[in-house]
Each structure stands twice: as structure tokens, then as C-alpha cells.
């Protein structure tokens, strides 16, 4: 079953990614998640800059996709994460899952996102009018990941 992992500076097309996921004739459900760069509530965000650990990133994402595919018996899974400088409203991350049924497609997409947030070696900097700031890890992301272990 096809797994696609891409870490890239270029943008991606949801339509193109969906077309590939929808090709699997055993899969009646396709779930996609897209994350975008958005304004901060309190600061004038102008852009994000994303750094990653080449080699480890791809390895971690590949493992996550494999785990999700096995656990929920899904079809194709695609993970795309952009790095480098991203302007306001640009796309950052895409996770797409095709599965025979909706429950598996939703669960696998959420699992990949929850683990990506805490396990994939990406680091974000916010570029604002007043300077550049490394984003702090969120406790809510740790909790979302740990919830899967409690539920297991």
C-alpha cells in the first residue's frame, strides 16, 4: 500500500494529492488535513521559518505512516511537510489517508498529526515585526499524543 513522505520547500496542491489518494478502488473514504500559517492573536506575524533534521524527519514520518496504515488497515497515506520560510496563509503540512471506511481514515489522519507534532524533528520560528522567536512546544500536543497510548 502506497506511503508517500515528502519534506520540501515547495508548496503542494491538495487537489493533486487527493487525486492520488482517491485512486485506490478499495477505499471509499479519504480524509485530508491541511495546516496553514496564520496570524498570531497578539503579535504581527509576517512569516514562519521551519528548520528540520534531514534524514531523521523522513525516517520518523515514514514510521508514523506505517504504524497508522497497519493499525487501521488503511490504503494510501501521504504526508507532506514544508520547510524554509513560509509567508502568512501559506500551507505548512498535509496529511491524507484513504481507507475502506471513514472511521479508519479519520483515526489514522489524527494519529499521524498527533505524533508528527511531538515526534517529527521540525522547529518553527515566528518572524514578527519585533523579531524572530522560536515557538515553544505545547503541553496540549504532548497530551494529544499520550491519549493514544492511554486508549491503546
Amino acid at each position: 500500500m502506497s506511503l508517500t513522505i515528502r519534506v520540501q520547500t515547495a508548496d503542494f496542491s491538495l487537489a493533486d494529492e487527493y487525486r492520488v489518494l482517491a485512486q485506490d478502488s478499495r477505499c471509499g473514504a479519504v480524509v485530508t488535513f491541511t495546516g496553514l500559517v496564520r496570524e498570531l492573536p497578539d503579535a504581527a506575524l509576517t512569516a514562519m521559518e521551519l528548520e528540520h533534521y534531514p534524514g531523521m524527519t523522513e525516517h520518523v514520518l515514514e514510521q508514523l505512516a506505517q504504524q497508522a496504515q497497519q493499525q487501521w488497515q488503511t490504503g494510501a497515506i501521504t504526508i507532506i511537510h514544508r520547510v524554509g520560510k513560509l509567508a502568512l496563509n501559506e500551507q505548512i503540512v498535509f496529511v491524507g489517508v484513504a481507507a475502506p471506511h471513514r472511521k479508519a481514515a479519520f483515526a489514522a489522519a489524527m494519529y499521524v498529526m498527533d505524533f508528527l507534532k511531538t515526534q517529527a524533528p521540525f522547529w518553527k520560528q515566528e518572524l514578527t515585526a519585533s523579531g524572530r522567536y522560536w515557538v515553544a512546544a505545547k503541553a496540549s500536543d504532548q497530551e494529544a499524543q499520550q491519549q493514544w497510548q492511554r486508549d491503546a
Binding site: 528540520h52 531523521m56 525516517h59 507534532k117 517529527a120 524533528p121 521540525f122 522547529w123 515553544a136
Partner: protein, 82 residues
């Protein structure tokens, strides 16, 4: 020899992206960290920050994991992608 990489805020604070180090016998991530602090006393606080994560050959690992010649190690802050 082992390769050691640093990322993100930790790389900036140490002002070091990558270095190589001899690999001693019975080396662990913890003994290697201690040797880095011997070489760079100003790194003490940063490398012992409880939030610092370490990886060996592209997978997360613990401070007691063994290190062998040829390994690629990395130290970095909690990840914030997605």
C-alpha cells in the same frame, strides 16, 4: 569518531551546528554529553536542560543508550512542527 548535530534554538545558543568527537569505550549519550561539557564548559546549562532531546542514527534515544563509532547523534529542543 561520532558525528554530533545540534538544531534550532539549541544550535543557536551553542553557536554550533555540528562537530565530530572520538568515541570512547563504553560510551553512552550521557558520557558523551559529559565530555562535550568538559570541552565546552559554557554548554553545561544548555545540554542539561531537562527538555533537551537526543537521537541516535535518526531515532530518538535515551541518555543511557550506547554510542558506537560511526553513529550520528543529535541534540535538540522539543519539536514544534505541524
Amino acid at each position: 569518531m561520532v558525528k554530533v548535530k545540534f538544531f534550532a534554538a539549541l544550535r543557536e545558543r551553542l553557536n554550533c551546528a555540528e562537530l565530530t568527537l572520538d568515541c570512547g569505550p563504553n560510551e553512552t549519550l550521557a558520557t558523551l554529553r559529559a565530555r562535550l561539557v568538559d570541552l565546552h564548559p559554557s554548554w553545561q546549562t544548555e545540554l542539561h536542560d531537562k527538555d533537551v532531546l537526543c537521537a541516535k542514527n535518526f531515532s530518538f534515544c535515551g541518555w543511557q543508550d550506547r554510542v558506537s563509532a560511526g553513529d550520528e547523534l543529535a541534540f535538540f529542543p522539543p519539536v514544534t512542527g505541524g
